[in-house]
Symmetry: C2
Subunit: 166 residues, 2 copies
Amino acid sequence: MHSHPKHAHPHESAGKISRGEPSKTALENSLGILRDLGHRITGPRKALLSVLTSEHGPFTAEELHCKLSGKGGDPVTVYRGLAALEEANLVRRCDFGDGVYRYEYNSGEHHHHHIICRSCSSVQILEVCFADALENLVRQMGYSNVTHTLEIFAICKACQKTAPNT
Amino acid sequence: MHSHPKHAHPHESAGKISRGEPSKTALENSLGILRDLGHRITGPRKALLSVLTSEHGPFTAEELHCKLSGKGGDPVTVYRGLAALEEANLVRRCDFGDGVYRYEYNSGEHHHHHIICRSCSSVQILEVCFADALENLVRQMGYSNVTHTLEIFAICKACQKTAPNT
DNA sequence: TTGTATGCAAATGTTTTGCAGAGCC
DNA sequence: GGCTCTGCAAAACATTTGCATACAA
């Protein structure tokens, strides 16, 4: 991996964002937002957003490329599409510390975290977040624009039965 | 970056570890632990641990290699030394989401987190951790061996003056 | 028609691995 | 002396970039 100038610090400027008329689908709203930002709506991007809005992930770039086989074109196109989506705040990039980035659709409503099974790598969403108090503390220390990343690693129930002492 | 089989999930089996007689220095104790695990005490490793125990980092492999110029040998040796230290739980690897891993000495006593300035990349240690409650919740959900990573990103005081709207 | 997105190829940069020789215990 | 660690070279791998072409607006 190299320098990631635009990605150096997760969650930057993330937050609640309006997704337009609630009668529209997440896909339609997202395409609208992308268009309003001056981006073009192409086949590969529509396919990419379609997967991201229907399945919640998070997915690696490679996984996304596989899911799009044919429709999504080149892996490079997936990377560039994801970069555009992240810049538009439609996608959030997460880092499970294994050297591969993962991407998930940013509904703009709930700030959540992940419970990742160390054994089977399954991911469960955790809606609760206790870190807000921590952010407030950091603000009191004089910092601004405070955000955070929090990932939880554990052994899930199923894997405990399979390999109890992992 | 590639697959990191031994590193896929941070903080695994981390925890309070005894560092031997308190009269000895962190360096001496660490070398003892390493020796007891069947590792050999070599110049490069002594130099590496010496830096890690005296300055608290976290440092990238490249930074460590620079600090050791001459003494530390090849960058590969630094990587291998760090891997041994991490396996021995003497070093903790952290991931700031910028594509480079950082390493810091694990005193074994305090579990802490980092406040990373998005602008100048300075790192401040934050001793408080609110995530213990979160870990308990996750345990109640049926998970075992629960650990977590938490990194805080913000703009530090100094940088707020320089570029107020970053 | 004009500028953005795509696709291929190639580069980048971090981390890992293979192997012969050096060094610790 | 046996087994580990080192050093060099080379590989592995995710991600980024350059450039000519295709395509949305």
